[in-house]
């Protein structure tokens, strides 16, 4: 997966794609699929989207959009409000600062970076959830969710890259 230089001129439609994708994934995360146990370990699709687009199209997924989508996730999922935007903003800032390192690297390195981001977000969400609820939360669901999230990244990343290539044409 080769990174393309960021094109300064884009149509409004192209500019909206990363945000729209992330929003759709946020909504899809809460859709009941009828798979036993899925609701508790739903992969963090929003994190995948934000990681990917921060590396390849950071100007199309600004902090404000990350914040708003994170807040929507908290409102939809009944989680502690403010925790998801907090974690996602930190991910975006960290990835942005390391962007030069990631751009142009081959996929395993990007995947490794994503796994690290997932671990960080999971620990953060677990910690905030515990503070908010006033007790130590059972980490098992969190661990499963993190593993599933890291495992699903290649698939979604491939989808994003197809979309991105389609846009560049």
């Amino acid at each position: 997966m080769k990174a393309k230089p960021v094109e300064p001129v884009d149509g409004i439609g192209q500019r909206l794609v990363p945000a729209a994708f992330t929003l759709v994934l946020a909504i899809l995360s809460v859709i009941p699929l009828g798979i036993p146990g899925y609701a508790q370990v739903t992969p963090n699709f929003v994190l995948m989207s934000i990681y990917y687009w921060t590396i390849y199209r950071p100007d199309h997924l600004p902090y404000l959009v990350v914040f708003l989508i994170g807040l929507l996730v908290d409102l939809l999922t009944f989680g502690p409000p403010g925790a998801t935007p907090f974690a996602l903003l930190i991910v975006r800032a960290t990835v942005l600062s390391q962007r030069k390192f990631f751009v142009g690297k081959n996929f395993p390195i990007l995947w490794w970076g994503f796994a690290l981001a997932t671990v960080a977000v999971t620990v953060l969400m677990w910690g905030i959830g515990g503070l908010y609820g006033g007790r130590v939360l059972d980490p098992r669901s969190y661990i499963f969710q993190a593993v599933l999230t890291a495992a699903c990244y290649p698939g979604l990343s491939w989808l994003f890259s197809r979309v991105q290539r389609g846009l560049a044409r």
Binding site: P5, I31, P32, P58, F67, T77, Y132
Partner: protein, 309 residues
């Protein structure tokens, strides 16, 4: 961060400004997130209000997205059912024979019961009312165990009402908007349900801990508990009526008793919101009096409301 490679003279000026603005936006939004966390912890009702409004707005979208998913799940279910048709039929025949015997017993008991009630001049409990809703959202994460359903105040759903599937108690309504309501499942960390062990009437509290099998807490010291014992609601606290089926004792490990819910909580598509006319321990303003449903009920199969015997 300067990402533009073209070196137009303007970009020399614009890039640092843009970078500064971004850094400011980042700091401001992180602070805002922290502020929201603190406010949310301190003032639950404000968050609840915003959450209810958001869920209300998104309910039609979620409902629309859920339907094709439900259709696919149904098709998969049909295929599975076809494959197991023969075995299923045999099982059902056996079960039917057993149930017919139970039906006889139930009829006899019902007769006897009504006879005894007449003798005692017993006042029947307040009329119950229910409405069926579709699950349009799940918790989508590890933090909590809840469901979003497509029924709200327009359908006379109110906070505190019990939610059950065909087989047993699922939870209770904790947040309600016009078109959507949030159901806190009995497995959630914050769920506490007063229950009794069926048969001997020993009381306990069913406490969720975000696992599939909630714990049985505050069990009396002399209570005898066996695996397989039925757990029903005790009616203490006045939120649920006594005797609603909840689950069976699944394991007893030292002091840790776990209950397997009757309802398959991970695969609920439709559930029933039941109002028993019990105000319970919730503050009066949190429990609006049920009124006749305002929304037109023209979609058979999805909605049914009316008094149950």
């Amino acid at each position: 961060m300067a990402v533009k490679s073209r070196s137009a003279p303007v970009s020399h000026l614009v890039a640092p400004l843009k970078s500064a603005a971004q850094r400011f936006a980042y700091s401001a939004l992180v602070l805002l997130s922290v502020a929201i966390m603190v406010i949310g912890r301190a003032d639950g009702t404000l968050v609840e209000h915003v959450r209810t409004k958001t869920n209300d707005m998104l309910a039609p979208v979620l409902e629309a997205v859920t339907q094709p998913v439900a259709a696919v799940t149904a098709v998969a279910g049909h295929v599975r059912a076809l494959a197991e048709l023969y075995r299923e039929n045999e099982r059902l025949k056996t079960e039917n024979t057993a149930l017919l015997q139970w039906q006889q017993v139930a009829r006899r008991l019902d007769n006897e019961n009504s006879g005894l009630r007449t003798l005692l001049n017993y006042q029947p409990e307040g009329s119950t009312w229910f409405i069926t809703g579709r699950v349009i959202g799940t918790s989508g994460g590890a933090y909590s165990r809840n469901l979003l359903i497509n029924r709200g105040t327009l359908d006379s759903v109110a906070k505190g009402q019990a939610v059950a599937s065909g087989t047993g108690l699922v939870g209770r309504v904790t947040e309600v908007g016009d078109r959507a309501a949030r159901v806190l499942m009995i497995t959630d960390l914050n769920s506490r349900i007063p229950v009794a062990i069926d048969g001997n009437h020993d009381r306990a509290i069913l406490a969720g801990d975000n696992t599939d099998r909630p714990q049985l807490a505050y069990v009396g010291p002399h209570t005898k508990i066996n695996i397989g014992d039925r757990i029903v609601t005790s009616g203490d606290g006045g939120v649920f009526p006594p005797g609603m089926p909840v689950g069976t004792i699944a394991s007893v490990d030292g002091g840790l008793i776990r209950v397997e819910p009757f309802a398959d909580l991970s695969r609920i598509e439709f559930l029933r919101v039941v109002d028993f006319g019990l105000a319970g321990v919730l503050p009066p303003e949190a429990v609006p009096q049920p009124k006749a449903p305002k929304r037109a009920k023209g979609d058979p199969g999805k909605s049914e409301a009316g008094p149950t015997p």
